[in-house]
Structures are given as C-alpha cells and as structure tokens.
Amino acid sequence: MGTLSERILRGTAGEYVDRVVDRAYVHDGTGVLTLEAWKSMGEKRIHDATHLHVLFDHIVPANNSTTATLQHELREFARSSFLRFSDIGGGICHQIMSEGIVLPGEVVVGADSHSCTLGAFGAFATGVGATDMAAIWMTGETWFRVPETIGMHLSGSFTGAAEAKDLALTYVSRLGMDGATYQALEFIGEGTVTLPMDDRLTICNLAVETGAKAGMFYADDVTIQYLARAGQVASLQEPEPCHYIREIDLDLSDIVPVIALPPRVDTVKPVHDLVGMPLDQVFVGTCTNGRYTDLARFSRIVKGKTVAVRTIVVPASRAVLHEAIRTGVITDLVEAGCTIGTPGCGPCLGAHMGVLGEGEVCLSTANRNFRNRMGVGGEIYLSSVATAAASALEGEITEPEVV
C-alpha cells in the first residue's frame, strides 16, 4: 500500500531512506564537477560502472577550447573507467535514458534537474547535484526523503490543437513554481490511457518547474508496449489505495493552447491573448519537446510553406534525427527554411547555437524562460510544438489551427 514513490523508495512519506540507485547519469556540464568531487573524495572507487552513464548533450560539439578540454578529460575518464558513454550527437541525457534504458520501478538519479522526465515510466527519477552524484559513483547509493504526493487526476482527452505541453504548462500555473516543493506528482485516472509515452515524458519533464522531486505515471499497457519496441520486458504497476496530501482534477478536454510568459514558467496565458506579438526566433527541441512526434507535428504544419522567422530545430537524440531523416521530416523542415542543430540541448541554456541578442524575443518549446537564460536581454516565451509551428510561419505569436 502506498503512493508509487513510497512503494519504490520503500518508506513512508517524510521518512529518510538510503536506497541503492538502479541508474545514475551525468552530462558534460555536471559530469565535470562530479568527476572533480569524486577525485577529491579520495577513494577513487567506482561502485558499479554498468549502471553509470555519461551523456554529452549540453554544449555539443564543444564551442571553445576550454569546453573542449573539460569534455576531453571527462570523455577519457568515462572510457577508461568503463562508464556507459554517449558522445556528442548521441542526444539529450533524459531522451537517451528514455529510449529503452529506464524501466518501471527503478530508482533513477540524474545530475540534471529535468531527470524527473523519466518518471513517465513509473520509475522514481529525480535530479541531484554533482557532489551527491560523486558519492553515488563511489557507493552506488544515496539518501532520499520519501516525498508526500499530489494526486493529479486526469480525465477526458485532448481536443482541438491542445497537446501535452499545454497540459504541462497549465498544471505548472495551477501549482505555481514552488507548489510541489519536496513533493511528488502522480498522474492517474482514465485520462492517462489516452497519452502516449512521448506525451507522458513531456508532462513529467515540467514537474520540477513546480518544485516537485518527481512526476510519475504508473506503468500500463502503453508503457509496456513502448518498452517492448525498444527490446525491453517490463511489468505493469497497479495503483493501490494511498494517501495524497492534495488532489487536483484536470480534464484534458478543457486544456487550450497556452504560453508561459517570461521570466516565470508559472505565468501562463491562452495563446489567444498574445496573438500578434512579433518574434525574432523560434526554437523547437529540448528534453521537453524534441522527440520524433514533436518534429513530425511541427513539419506537418510548416511543410510546403516557408517560416517567416529564424527557426532552429534540434532533435532530442540521434534516434530521433534518424527517424526524422528516414520519414522525410527533416527534408520538409529544411525546405520550409528551418535550421537543424546537432542532437542535444541546443540553445536552451544560452550557451551556444541560438543565443538571443539584447531585446530579442524567442518562442521556445523548452521548459524554462528565466531572465537572460538564452542570452542577456533576450526574452523567452514557452509554448507547444503546434503553437511554435503556426507562429514560425507568421513570424509572430499565432494560434495553432486544429489539424
């Protein structure tokens, strides 16, 4: 009996537990500090390299020689210590872990705040910092405070042009930026069966924007079939009677296309209210909305037309890029005037490949619109893929048409 977090962490809400970690991963950003902390801890011992992943995604390929040198050191370490390594072009850490690696019921930690994305599989997945990760490299375990859980009851199904991102931004605005701090979100109810894995990953991705430690779906037939296609065998998880500290009802048929206004993810308005706002850049990608279904949806809308503003599309992984090449999606995007980036985080964190200039406005499918995040003096509006596509064609914020 208990919430999914309580069952996986084997404790009751509020309790501190030590748990062996089933999978742990870092990227090229946090991995550098993790390696430094691990070396300083003195023992220079790796507990079990087969469960440790190093995935380069934040600044790929390296943008200058400082970055390149840091990446070189981490790459050499990962190889010589037999950690599971994904080099530049492999894709975003969370995406690769979602392509048949993370399984239901696992305890997963990533040295990145959006590690909560993987709760979509019914895993307990959460972000930690570099020094915590260094201790996990050494011991294979870490401590958790078992979170209280908010029950997010989903009913109905999406109508019109609404999509998972609109639901995610809507619940972030309902809860607020710290509405679920130290807590977990469980997405339950009949509405969940209508959501494919890509949607669930988008929905769980935004959990941390409410302060939540985890965002989770129970593994059901959708999960099992997705993992089977990736060559994995997994078992179903059935909800049990449990205690939620708060319950929220969300009818998917009420969700409309929305936008989060800078500089807060929880300041959310219907796209309708912002129609006509001029844009300097549209960015499609990230661990929120860089999956194949996102690229395909974007290309369906812009195919045969030409974007009216510079538009950067970054596939979330090599598998996504490969599928988009195979099906002609990439051709359609290029013909529509989009620029395609290396699989990875792209310009989301303002380091390279699409940094904004002073006074520029970007409509992005990412998950954060904090001040100066994509460049000093630039403003970030967050939307769904369909809204980004309709807006790219007009060069200004535009309501997506019902397809």
Binding site: Y16, G29, T30, V32, L33, E36, A37, S40, M41, G42, E43, I59, N64, T66, T67, L70, A111, D112, S113, G127, V128, G129, A130, T131, D132, A134, A135, M138, W143, M177, D178, T181, Y182, G211, K213, R264, L349, G350, A351, R368, F370, R371, N372, R373, V376
Partner: protein, 156 residues
C-alpha cells in the same frame, strides 16, 4: 556555534540561472563563478557577498541543478542563506558544499546584523530571535565536515 553576518536582501523564486548564468559554467575556475555571482539579478551584489547572510524569499535556488550556484555563494564569502523555503536540489547541493541554509521567514534590512546558531536552531536579526527547524542529523554532520567531499574523506 554562533555565526554573524550582514544581511543582503534578495527576492522570492531566485533561480540558479540568476545565481550564476549558464555562460559562466564551463570552467573549473571557481573564481569566475565568484566574480559573476548574481550578475543577472544585480551586478552590485558580488561586491557585498563577503561576510553576508543572504535573506531571500520563498523557493530560493529553483531551476537548474548546477552546483556552481551553491559553490559561488559559499566561495564569495556568504556565511548562510535564510529563506522560508528552498528548491530541493539546491538544498542538497548547498549542504554538500558546506553552505549552511536556514529555513525561516525573516524581515530584511540591507546591511543589518544577522546572528545564527545551527546546532541550537535559532536566528536573530533586528533585535528579534526566531526558532529554526533543525537539519537532519546527517546533514548536520556533512555541514560540520565542511561538505560531502570532506565528510567522505574524514568521517567514514
């Protein structure tokens, strides 16, 4: 043990991008983080960090898991951060790098003295004393060791 510092006031929901921007992350040179700490919030803050107690609004440290945020604040000379609540990854990171955090709602007058005692669980400013919730035993041990690296080197 009593520790004293001067108040530096910041607002609520301060994200880690504001503490240290993404454009300064790709280095192991901690002095770069110290030089640019809070630059996008208020460029004058970096000069007032040494010996400070940062008094913030709710949800301090939300957003990215970048540990450079906690390192920058500690190495700039801040002795503690006080806020009604902290984002959870920042909370762990701060303790792990030896930066004390105090969960408390405090009034803030820039430059006024703030005294606190982590073991006894109180903080005092502007003539008023507030009781603060104790950290877990393990977190106290990690802080006492000066962070998780030293904790592993010396305590285990």
């Amino acid at each position: 043990m009593q520790v004293k510092g001067r108040a530096v006031c910041v607002g609520a929901d301060i994200d880690t991008d504001l503490v240290i921007a993404g454009r300064y992350l790709r280095t192991k040179d901690h002095s770069i983080w110290v030089a640019h700490v809070f630059e996008d919030l208020d460029p004058s803050l970096a000069g007032r960090m040494n010996g400070s107690v940062i008094i913030a609004g709710k949800n301090f440290g939300c957003g990215s898991s970048r540990e450079q945020a906690a390192i920058a604040i500690r190495e700039a000379g801040t002795v503690a951060v006080v806020a009604p609540s902290f984002a959870r990854i920042f909370f762990r990171n701060a303790i792990n790098v030896g930066l004390p955090l105090i969960e408390c709602t405090l009034p803030c007058t820039e430059g006024s003295f703030v005294t606190f005692d982590l073991t006894e669980g109180w903080v005092e400013t502007e003539g008023k004393k507030y009781t603060t919730p104790p950290l877990s035993k393990r977190m106290q041990e990690i802080l006492a060791a000066g962070g998780l690296v030293n904790y592993w080197r010396t305590c285990r």
